[in-house]
């Protein structure tokens, strides 16, 4: 038996994303952001996107291209303080922004990826973060219901991958990628290095390939992946 080959062309995979899609995007700052997939999404110009990401990158980088193009209808993020363009778009009402506590965003996505409907948490109780959220009593404690979150598409950045989609991540480029890679109907992973089947040791697999639909190999890394000198 042999595991299937899921390698594909980047342009073709981005072309599968329709207008209005909910797109999960890995990354925390620069590390783990799939810049090449985002560049192609910006070039193809799909519109009315709901983008779920930890942060809004920085001006001129990553999902900022989508915001600048007017492709984003709504952002679900934990923080966008490093991107003045995103803050301006939010304040102008050009994009809707839903803020979520960082670990709760991760758990909502993880729940989506685990086939669950919601999580219960006391994070945010007693603050305006609780406004509009359903509350339940559980084991004598008040909890907020935080609905599971899934994407139509997840855009993932891996350090290495095999053709089946077994993925590894580098250092803090892991962040939201493993949970997002479980939580979308179509999971597209870009990888810096493509190794043959067996090239990722079974114990070293961070995301099992069974979660991944497509593997896109990056021929080169653009400047966006590099060190940011602030």
């Amino acid at each position: 038996m042999k595991l299937p080959d899921k390698t594909a062309a980047l342009e073709d995979m981005i072309a599968t994303i329709p207008d209005g899609a909910t797109v999960l995007v890995g990354g925390f700052g620069v590390p783990g952001t799939p810049f090449a997939l985002l560049q192609e999404l910006a070039r193809q110009g799909q519109r009315d996107l709901v983008v779920v990401k930890n942060d809004a990158n920085e001006a001129g980088m990553g999902i900022d291209h989508l915001i600048a193009n007017g492709q984003v209808r709504k952002l679900i993020v934990t923080h966008l303080g490093l991107n003045a363009n995103a803050i301006a778009a939010m304040n102008a009402g050009a994009i809707e922004v839903e803020f979520c506590a960082q670990g709760i965003l991760a758990e909502r996505i993880r729940a989506g990826g685990a086939g669950l409907g919601a999580i219960l948490t006391d994070i945010g109780l007693g603050t305006e973060m609780a406004q509009g959220k359903q509350q339940v009593e559980m084991a004598g404690r008040t909890m907020l219901v935080e609905p599971a979150l899934r994407g139509d598409v997840a855009l993932i950045h891996a350090a290495s991958a095999d053709p089946f989609g077994n993925l590894t991540y580098a250092a803090t480029a892991r962040n939201f990628n493993p949970v997002m890679a479980m939580a979308a109907t179509r999971v597209i992973a870009e990888t810096e290095v493509l190794v043959p089947l067996g090239g990722v040791a079974p114990d070293a697999v961070a995301t099992p390939g069974a979660f991944v639909d497509h593997v896109v190999t990056l021929s080169a890394l653009s400047q966006e992946y590099g060190i940011v000198r602030r």
Partner: protein, 217 residues
């Protein structure tokens, strides 16, 4: 950094006990690490998926994949671990985080903390602060005593949206070390050269003054 700020940061570093798991908030709290001995046994946690934060590196030696939650290029030390964002906050929420040092816009005498939003002026999102403030076993604030306009940050009640209710145990400022007690703010130490009247003037709530000599830092 001014001398008073530097002494405040150095004093806050003594908050960290050997063996702790600690999260240092973005900004001033991150500077606390510079006042710990190189071989001090502590596990520093970064929200983006790292325990065992090593020294900050200059750009020419930085690893593009290795940052802390504030975006600084950091390094690993022997025993460091990487993990995903869900695991990172599982550690925070489950009680494994002994201490967090956070910045503040306002702290109330009952321990309420506001540090994420100034309506109409500053709303970049809550990031990981809300979970750190709700769930760290001990929450300590490191902040200038007053804001840039000279307004007190230690208040009877917060006016800004809260990050967490009643969670702040202690404040290290450039003027004093102040505990939050059931009776309100209580002075523990004074910065060198700061008078009690200046402290009272700069504090927006009553502050209990001990009868004994007040240590300085």
């Amino acid at each position: 950094m001014s001398d008073a700020k530097s002494r405040m940061v150095a004093r806050a570093a003594r908050e960290i006990a050997p063996g702790m798991v600690v999260n240092l908030g973005i900004g001033l709290p991150t500077q606390v690490v510079n006042h710990l001995p190189a071989d001090f046994p502590v596990c520093l946690h970064s929200e983006n998926g790292l325990t065992g934060i090593g020294p900050t590196l200059p750009y020419d030696r930085a690893d593009r994949n290795l940052i802390d939650a504030g975006g600084a290029y950091v390094s690993t030390i022997p025993g460091s671990a990487f993990f995903d964002s869900a695991v990172s906050f599982a550690l925070v929420r489950s009680g494994r985080l002994d201490l967090t040092l956070l910045g503040a816009f306002e702290v109330a005498q009952n321990g309420d903390l506001a540090n994420w939003k100034i309506p109409g002026k500053f709303s970049p999102g809550v990031g990981g602060a809300i979970e750190l403030a709700h769930k760290a076993r001990r929450v300590v604030v490191l902040t200038t005593h007053c804001d840039r306009k000279g307004n007190p940050k230690l208040l009877e009640a917060c006016s800004l949206p809260l990050t967490a209710r009643g969670r702040v145990a202690r404040i290290y400022s450039d003027m004093a070390v102040v505990d939050v007690t059931p009776a309100g703010f209580a002075l523990r130490e004074l910065a060198e050269g700061v008078s009690l009247s200046a402290l009272r003037e700069a504090t927006g709530a009553p502050i209990l003054i001990p009868h004994a000599d007040i240590p300085t830092f």
